[in-house]
Symmetry: C3
Subunit: 268 residues, 3 copies
């Protein structure tokens, strides 16, 4: 796991500029999380400049948490500029499966933009994979199921997939990491998933395989949550300690904390 | 007060989904406050999906803090869907009385949507009640006056009213609770009133009378503020401790802290 | 420096209402920072009411961090109302120089609105001054250069200029303060510059010269950051401690901490 742990050092050395077009609930937390990590956030979401901003960024994050029609246009414009430049695009399909507008938009973005990685919970990934409707909106379906859904989505959509939950599934459809870092208090802080999508985008800029980069980001993030929870009294102090830990946690300390299992040649 | 205190347990058991269409200053704090309480926030505010989201929620909060024309349309669309489904709708008329646009919008929402409860400060409630213009914008008018204004608004608009200030007035026009929980530091945190509106919405889902549910929410919230202030050095640490306390404060601890007086058959 | 230090007392006594039309990343932090300071924030950003709200405010802040076309219209409408009323207008040209849309908008606002003071980093101020393109986007150009750029911008645009960086330059083109308060952790909190723009606006309401008022705001803010950093473990706890310190730091404690140098009659 020392190779995985070393990615945090590479991310901090590279200091990438991450362009986030995200929901209005989590903009502040996302920007502060990226600044704590040591990378640069930019949040431009107007149609008039989204493509220009993506063109100077090192990675792009598209998050449909509080989507509106003008913002979706900005996402597609930025996504196309990112594709042209060849930088990674992370898609966070917040609430896919919940309303027809979200469903239509999520599929439209996937059609128009070449996405490198999708991060979502079980319900969102299941919706995108066209899985059995019973899975929709469910956060805690059993592990085997989550792995199957993530693999199905990755193969069908031709992207890497990170399905987060009690256990995190990171797959490109052929190989798979299972991650067990993290803490229950993450579910009590809004945008904990959204910030992870942006942290993954930062890790994707260090020229590793998407799978390793995502595994590095997910492990780093979950380990930081565990450390932060140790000195927290609840969701308020956890949020504060989490930003502090993202700032401090280094390769050496991370190395002993990573809980990842790797499976390759998954078969068809 | 043991019946009032027991509501917090019922809210946490029910885990309602609260749909908030609220201002862009407080979205993050509102979502984090609800997550700390143990309930689920959702913030969808696009016209294209507001009604669909309200239809799967357990309560709806409409807050005009940073209203725009498209957002008002989303509020009315969601409000009508909530009315059709029969779930509680809380209205927070932020800044009513301050600009013609806000005044027109507040009255338009009250015309189009059947609101269960209105929460505001003295100036906002006075504006809605059509009270003497001198009261407009005043936060700290004398107690008797605040009670009269709240009763007048409740009778005129046919809803429950929570008028918050140094003393909180909770009335349906016939009966009234006076609440004395709370702390001055709440006035130094933006969205302290807005989050209370959403917490009241959560309490309204437990099938109590609106008056009791609102009294329970207001007492819980004020008691949490008092406990949080005890370990705070200022508005920053208060905000952190407040979220922690909302997470921890249980029925048993709450019971000894509630400061409520009840008055019924107020007469006309 | 006792005269400069006394301004914080005057700001708190005056309790001005600061109207902010700002970006959606920093609305919450800006409002909480102003509340901690002891002044009143209002964030109305709809075209329909921006002018009405500016007309009842004591100062206006225009920040283009996440600008959209409707918001720019609201800014100009509010700016004209502020000019008519004669209240200070602070302009924060976030990201000027980064995209054509931002550049065009920044210049358009400066054409349409009579701005009292511009606060930005070296790259933003350089762009507005039409300085050598090499300076664009650079935050840490050498001191002499930053002073020249700030003076050039102030003379060319006919406004006071605050150029923030490791050393802060405050000038009206004729006289100049150099400020050395502040802490590196400010660069790890999103909106640290944006909130400073709003704090400067609050100081501009106490009827001092723009230069002295801005020097007072910048010193107060930087000193608060130094105190907060002393008890912080990282960007999360720094943010909390910073709000607490803004709330507590008084004239007397501030006096011994101000690091300002003054230069007048700069010549042409």
């Amino acid at each position: 796991m020392s190779e995985i742990a070393s990615l945090i050092t590479k991310v901090r050395e590279r200091q990438p500029l991450i362009h986030n077009i995200t929901n209005n609930v989590v903009t502040n937390f996302t920007a502060n999380g990226l600044l704590s990590l040591g990378v640069s956030p930019v949040m431009a979401n107007a149609r008039e400049e989204a493509a220009d901003m993506a063109s100077v960024a090192d990675a792009l994050v598209l998050n449909i948490g509080t989507l509106t029609t003008p913002q979706v246009e900005a996402m597609i414009s930025a996504g196309k500029a990112a594709n042209e430049k060849g930088i990674p695009v992370v898609f966070d399909p917040v609430g896919a499966g919940a309303t027809p507008f979200r469903n239509k938009t999520a599929l439209h973005i996937l059609e128009q933009v070449n996405v490198s990685l999708i991060r979502g919970n079980a319900g969102e990934i299941a919706y995108l994979a066209g899985a059995d409707a019973k899975v929709k909106g469910v956060d805690s379906s059993f592990q085997g199921n989550n792995q199957e859904i993530a693999i199905k989505a990755a193969r069908q959509l031709g992207t890497a997939v990170v399905l987060t939950g009690e256990e995190d599934v990171i797959t490109n459809g052929d190989s798979l990491y299972l991650g067990k870092n993290g803490h229950q208090l993450q579910t009590r802080v809004t945008g904990a998933g959204c910030l992870l999508s942006s942290v993954i985008a930062a890790f994707l800029t260090v020229k590793e395989t998407e799978l390793k980069a995502a595994a590095g980001a997910v492990s780093f993030y979950g380990a930081a949550a565990e450390i932060a929870a140790d000195s927290s009294k609840g969701p308020g102090s956890f949020q504060t300690a989490f930003l502090d830990t993202i700032y401090h946690l280094n390769e050496k300390e991370l190395q002993g904390k990573i809980k990842l299992s790797y499976f390759n040649h998954l078969g068809v």
